[in-house]
Symmetry: C2
Subunit: 390 residues, 2 copies
C-alpha cells in the first residue's frame, strides 16, 4: 500500500477538522475518500466543503464493509468510539479514535481485545503527546533525571465553559449523551499525560466530584482527586469547567527535585545530589540539599492533530512506532471512571477499577436522568475549535 | 501601668529569641524581668546571655504567682501551652503563646475559656499575620474584590527537615513529646492563614496522612487534605517535610478571578465582570470573561515576632486591637486535628471535630509509641532559627 484510503466517521467539530486536514494534503500517504455521519443533512455540508472525490455515507457499517477504504478516523460521540472501532477491526481497517477511548473501561477493554486480534494499526488522538513540554517532562522522568517520583499535582481548571456551551448540543453533559462532564470531555488529554509523563498509574484513589455545581447540567463539573501510587508517591488532580481564568499547573516532585509546567514553560529545580543521599550524610539539624533552578531547553514543535494523523499513517505504511497506541486510551479513562466511582460509592477505589460496578452505576445515572436530550449532536455546522485545546 | 514586666517561659529556640528581642529594646513599654525553664542547666545560659536584672526561675508556677511579673510569653513544648496559659490567667497575667495553641482542641478550648474569664490580653504568636502578602490577600477577599470564594489550594511542601533535625531533640516528632509532626510543628502558620485570609473554616474534611514516610519518626510527615466549605467551595492542602526544594503556593479562586501567592509575590487575575454575570449574558458557546492580570501593590514590612510582641504589649497598655487574638489559635489546630482524625478513622470528619474522639485516638498513639524520648528538649543551646520561618 502506498496511499492509505481514509474515512472519517462523525462530522462534528473534530471530525470536520480532521477531514479538512486530510483534504489540505497535510498527511502524506493518506487520501480522504469518504466521510460518514448519521445525520443526513450533513450530506450538503460534505458536498459544499469537501472535494467531489469524497463520498458521503450515512451508514458507518456499510461504509466500513464496502472495501473502498483502508482506515477510519472515528470522531463520533464518545459512547460510539469502541463500538465503531470494533466494527472497523472486524472489517480489517486501521483505526484512529478521538479521545476519550470510550465512556466506560469495560467497553474499551473489548475494543483493545478486538484491536489486538486484528493486527491493525490502532491509535488514539492524544495530540497533547506531541507537546514538547510534556515530551521533555516524560524524558526527564524516564531517564531518571528527576529520580524516584514522590508527588504529582495537576491543577487543570482553565476549561471554562458557559451555560451557552452546554446548551449548544443536546447530547452535551448528559449521562446518556456524553457519559460524563469535565472528566470525559475536557480532561482526557491531561488524564493521559498525568500517567504517560510519569510512567505510573495509581493503585488507589479517593475522589470528590460535584455534579451540576456551576451549570444546569447533570454531570460532574468540579473534581478533586487524591491518588496513591505503588511506590508510595501521592498525587492530586483538580479540575473544573466553572472557573475563570483557571489554572493549568502540573508539578512533579522526585528524589532529585521538582519540575513544574505552567504558562507554557517547564522549570526544573534540580538537587545537586539526591535527597536521600543528602539526608544520610547531613548532620547539621537545619539544612537542605543544594538546589539549582535550571532552564531546560524545549525543542520541537507541537504537531497536534495533524501530527498524530501523520504518525498513524506512517505506522500503517512504514511501521513507525505510534506516539499514542490506541490500547493506552484505557489508562486515562480508568482514572476518570475511578473518580466518578469513588464519588458515587463515597469510598476508596482500587485500580484497576471494578468495571462492572462502574457500568452499573453509570446505567443507574442514565436511567434516572431527567435530561431529555438527543444522543447525536444537534448542530449541523461544525464549530471552529482551534482556540479551545489545552 | 507604663512598663509591662514580661517573663518568658521555656528557653528553647523560640523562647531564647523572644528574650533577646525584649532585652534588645525592640518592644517599647515592655521589660524582660524573668525567664523560666525546667532544665536547671539553663541558669548558666541565662546568666551569660541576659542582663543580671533578669531573674531565672526553674518553676513556672512559682514565678507566675510571685507578683513580680505582669505578662508571660509561653514558649514551652506544645503540650504545655494551654496548661501554662491557664495557670497564668489564674494568676492575673497577660499571655502570649507560641504556636501551636496546643496539641488537641479539647485542651485549647479550656484555655480559651480561662482567657475569657480572666479579662487579660491573650495573643498567639502568629507572626505570619504581619506578612504584607497575606494581609493584602485577606483585604482583597474581605472587601469583596475576589468575589465569593470557590476554591483554595495550598501546596506548602518547602518545610524540608533531615533526619538529623529530628534526632536533634528527643521530644521532636513524637506523639508524647510534640503530639504530631509537620502539622503541629511546621504548618501552624499556614493552617492559620488558610482560614484567616479567606475568613472561612471548612465544614468537612477528608485527609490522608502518612506517618514516618520519609524519616524515622512516628508522626505524620506527608499530608494531603481535601475540604468543603459551607458555601460549596472546596479546598486542598498539601504538606510535607520530606521534599526538597518543595513549594509554597497558595491559590484562591473566586467569582471575580484568582489570586496566587508564590515566590514572595501576589498576583491577581481579575475578571472584568463577575463570572456568574458573564455566564448569564453570554450566548456564544465557546468564550470566557475578559481577565486582567493585575499588579497589586504590596506595602508595609513584615514585622514578624517582634511586631507581634509589640502589638501584644500595645494591647495591654493602650487597648490596641490584637493582630492575632489567642482565642483564634483553635482554628488552625482544629484543621490539623481534623487531618489526623480523618486519617485515623479513614473517613470524613465534620468540623468542629469530635474533640473527645480525637483525644482518645491521640492517647492510643502515645500509649502504643515505641519511641522512648524525653518530653523536654535535649539541647541546652538554643539554635539560630532565623532562616527557617516561612
Amino acid at each position: 500500500m502506498s496511499l492509505v484510503r481514509v474515512a472519517v466517521i462523525g462530522i462534528g467539530n473534530m471530525g470536520a477538522a480532521h477531514a479538512r486536514t486530510l483534504v489540505a494534503g497535510e498527511v502524506p500517504g493518506a487520501e480522504l475518500v469518504a466521510v460518514c455521519d448519521v445525520r443526513q443533512e450533513m450530506e450538503s455540508w460534505v458536498s459544499s466543503n469537501l472535494p467531489a472525490s469524497v463520498t458521503y455515507w450515512q451508514d458507518a457499517e456499510q461504509m466500513m464493509s464496502s472495501g473502498t477504504i483502508d482506515a477510519v478516523i472515528i470522531a463520533t460521540p464518545h459512547y460510539d468510539h469502541p463500538e465503531k472501532a470494533i466494527q472497523a477491526f472486524r472489517d480489517g481497517l486501521h483505526v484512529m479514535i478521538e479521545k476519550p477511548a470510550g465512556v466506560y473501561t469495560k467497553q474499551v477493554r473489548k475494543m483493545n481485545e478486538a484491536a489486538a486480534a486484528s493486527g491493525k494499526v490502532f491509535s488514539m488522538m492524544y495530540n497533547q503527546r506531541t507537546n514538547p513540554l510534556y515530551i521533555k517532562l516524560r524524558d526527564l522522568i524516564a531517564s531518571g533525571e528527576l529520580g524516584e517520583i514522590r508527588r504529582t499535582n495537576w491543577i487543570i481548571t482553565n476549561w471554562y465553559r458557559s451555560q451557552s456551551y452546554y446548551d449548544s448540543g443536546g447530547w452535551r453533559a448528559t449521562w446518556a449523551g456524553e457519559g460524563g462532564g469535565v472528566l470525559i470531555n475536557q480532561d482526557p488529554h491531561q488524564l493521559d499525560l498525568w500517567q504517560w509523563t510519569i510512567g505510573m498509574m495509581p493503585v488507589r484513589m479517593r475522589a470528590f466530584c460535584s455534579f451540576g455545581k456551576y451549570r444546569n447540567i447533570e454531570v460532574e463539573d468540579d473534581v478533586t482527586a487524591y491518588v496513591e501510587y505503588e511506590n508510595g508517591a501521592t498525587g492530586v488532580f483538580v479540575t473544573t469547567t466553572g472557573e475563570a481564568p483557571g489554572t493549568n499547573r502540573f508539578e512533579v516532585n522526585g528524589d532529585r527535585g521538582k519540575i513544574v509546567i505552567e504558562d507554557g514553560q517547564l522549570t526544573f529545580w534540580r538537587l545537586r545530589e539526591p535527597e536521600p543521599e543528602f539526608n544520610q550524610r547531613f548532620t547539621g539539624g537545619f539544612g537542605q540539599p543544594e538546589c539549582w533552578k535550571c532552564e531546560v531547553p524545549i525543542s520541537g514543535v507541537e504537531t497536534g492533530h495533524p501530527g498524530l494523523i501523520r504518525n498513524w499513517i506512517d505506522a500503517i505504511l512504514n511501521g513507525t512506532p505510534l506516539i499514542a497506541p490506541g490500547e493506552e486510551g484505557i489508562h486515562g479513562l480508568t482514572l476518570s471512571n475511578a473518580m466518578l466511582l469513588s464519588t458515587w460509592t463515597d469510598n476508596w477505589v482500587d485500580l484497576p477499577i471494578d468495571e462492572d460496578l462502574f457500568y452499573e452505576h453509570l446505567q443507574q445515572r442514565i436511567a434516572s436522568s431527567n435530561t431529555k436530550k438527543d444522543k447525536a449532536g444537534s448542530s449541523s455546522q461544525p464549530a471552529d475549535l482551534s482556540q479551545t485545546f489545552k
